[in-house]
């Protein structure tokens, strides 16, 4: 069992979702985060006072997958999120210790579904 975390550009979320559903990955958690990789930040101006803002809006996607779905998930996210410019994001794959379905109390690979 693996836990896939992806940080992507907010405007690519629709595409990533479409690709994931096409790859038969139908479970997802989405949150809004701030951060940056190597790309430049923006400058904001408030009544003449300039402020460099290097924390940019990003979307974090988290999906728990069984081992046989990991590659498909990674490919789907990459296909949806890639625009060719710096700031496209990163995908992290972590080992998942255990998974529990709350409603039925199933555990392990079955619970991931």
């Amino acid at each position: 069992m693996k836990y896939v975390i992806a940080i992507i550009q907010p405007q690519r979320l629709h595409e990533v979702q479409d690709e994931l559903y096409k790859a038969d990955v139908n479970l997802i958690t989405v949150s809004e985060v701030l951060g940056h990789g190597r790309q430049k930040g923006t400058t904001e101006v408030y009544r003449g006072y300039k402020e460099a803002q290097n924390l940019l809006r990003k979307i974090k996607i988290e999906i728990a997958v069984n081992d046989n779905f990991v590659e498909a998930t990674i490919k789907a996210i990459q296909k949806g999120a890639k625009s060719g410019q710096t700031g496209d994001g990163k995908i992290f794959v972590l080992n998942l210790e255990d998974c529990v379905r709350i409603r039925t109390e199933e555990r392990g690979a079955v619970a991931i579904g």
């Binding site: 550009q9 405007q11 629709h14 809004e32 701030l34 923006t42 400058t43 904001e44 101006v45 408030y46 803002q53 924390l55 809006r57 410019q85």
Partner: protein
């Protein structure tokens, strides 16, 4: 002492004699009436409220979070820029007179910078009160607010995908080349549509149809927003939309009830028809949402209100209570269908339904005026259902002329500005959001 009293008596006689002459004369000399002036000053402020904050927040809530400031900025800037243009030469072009062959089509520069207009001069324009006038400057100010809100309505079509520099140029050119002529045709003493007999009380064609057609042109020229592909872009702040719609409803009483240029029965009638038509439109839109979309939505209620306000605008000073209700009910049916069915079918990206609501709603309002204008409200306004079948032809002429001029000249303006500075932000800029790329500002902080 006696000589003094005689002198005072003579003085009184002379001054009051002037008064008596006024009341007994057949054609009264125009004078400035304080009641009418007070109302029109207030109505002017009401109409300003319609643009900012009304329209600003109505549209601001409908766009995505990353573009809300660009919409607010457009409304503030339009208010400032068009107001200056208006008093520099716009009012003169729209309401002034010129000589020669162009007189029915455009005014001249006689009144540029309000030249020749003294602060105590009564307005040459009036509707129901031929003698009790407002100051000319107040009338010009009232009309200024109309000139301001009309280009702001077009923002509904190009929201989220027009560069600020292009928007500035387009605003100035459009006000001068599209709004001022059409206002002249319908409202000025020389205007050819006015002479023809077209009825438009507060601007159904001049303001709403005009900006609605321009909005359609903008949507067609700019193309779809990128990343629009079949996904709806949800409004980022529906409370803002409702706030904006409510402020529009409030301010519209100045728009319609003020267009009689008097605080009299006609103003009261326009007030009544405005309120009732809007209420009917809200109810009908909610019903349609409930039937066809499963649930009544607050966004639908707010949109219905605006559609009703748009449709009653040309009719407000001509129709009765019954005519107003019908106008409101029908506009929601027509505009709901435009927005939910036709737009999807044809695929043009009229982001905030400026064409669907203002353009089409304004056209229906102009037709409704032709159908329901009742001579009991204004004797000069007789509609088809009161025996004057020809009125609908004059309304069609008004609609047709506005449609053609607005469409063609707006198209030319957009193309010219595209050559000068370019219309669209780059794909990256559109993705990041115009607030940051055009204004270096973020509307909402995420942390702190």
């Amino acid at each position: 002492m006696r000589k003094f009293l005689v002198f005072v008596g003579l003085l009184l006689l002379l001054t009051t004699a002037g008064l008596f002459a006024q009341t007994t004369g057949a054609a009264q000399k125009p004078y400035i009436d304080f009641g009418n002036t007070a109302w029109l000053i207030v109505a002017t402020a009401f109409v300003l409220l319609m643009t900012i904050p009304g329209l600003a927040f109505f549209y601001g809530g409908l766009v995505r979070r990353k573009n809300v400031l660009s919409v607010l900025m457009q409304c503030i800037i339009i208010t400032a820029v068009v107001s200056l243009q208006w008093f520099m030469f716009g009012y003169s072009l729209a309401f002034g007179s010129s000589s020669g062959a162009l007189a029915p089509f455009i005014g001249g520069f006689k009144w540029a910078f309000m030249n020749g207009i003294g602060i105590n001069d009564p307005s040459p324009y009036f509707i129901s009160q031929s003698a009790a006038r407002v100051p000319h400057l107040v009338f010009a100010l009232f009309q200024c607010m109309f000139a301001v809100i009309t280009p702001a309505l077009i923002a509904g079509a190009f929201a989220e995908r027009l560069k600020f520099s292009a928007f500035l140029l387009i605003t100035i050119l459009w006000s001068t080349l599209v709004y001022d002529p059409i206002a002249h045709w319908v409202w000025s003493a020389d205007g050819w549509l006015a002479h023809l007999g077209a009825l438009d009380f507060a601007g159904g064609t001049v303001v709403h149809m005009n900006s609605g057609i321009a909005a359609l042109v903008a949507a067609l020229v700019l193309g779809k927003r990128r990343h629009y592909k079949g996904h709806a872009t949800p409004p980022h702040n529906i409370p803002f939309v409702v706030l904006g719609a409510a402020l529009l409803w409030f301010g519209w009483f100045g728009f319609n009830a003020g267009s009689g240029v008097a605080a009299d029965g006609l103003a009261g009638s326009a007030f009544l028809t405005t309120h009732v038509a809007t209420s009917a439109a809200v109810v009908m839109w909610v019903i349609m949402d409930w039937i066809f979309n499963g649930k009544p939505t607050v966004l639908g209620a707010a949109t219905g209100a605006v559609a009703g306000l748009v449709a009653i605008t040309p009719a407000s000073g001509f129709v009765t209570l019954g005519g107003a209700i019908v106008t409101g009910l029908v506009v929601s049916i027509v505009c709901w269908w435009m927005v939910s069915v036709v737009k999807k079918k044809f695929g043009y990206d009229d982001a905030l339904d400026a064409f669907g609501v203002h353009g089409v709603g304004g056209a229906w309002g102009a037709l409704a005026t032709g159908l329901f204008a009742a001579p009991v409200i204004q004797s000069a306004g007789v509609g088809v259902f009161y025996g004057n079948a020809k009125q609908i032809l004059f309304q069609f002429a008004d609609i047709g002329a506005t449609l053609v001029w607005s469409f063609v000249v707006t198209w030319i303006i957009f193309k010219v500005v595209d050559l000068l500075v370019g219309l669209k932000p780059s794909e990256a800029e559109e993705e990041i959001g115009l607030d940051l790329t055009d204004h270096n500002e973020k509307a909402y902080t995420v942390i702190d």
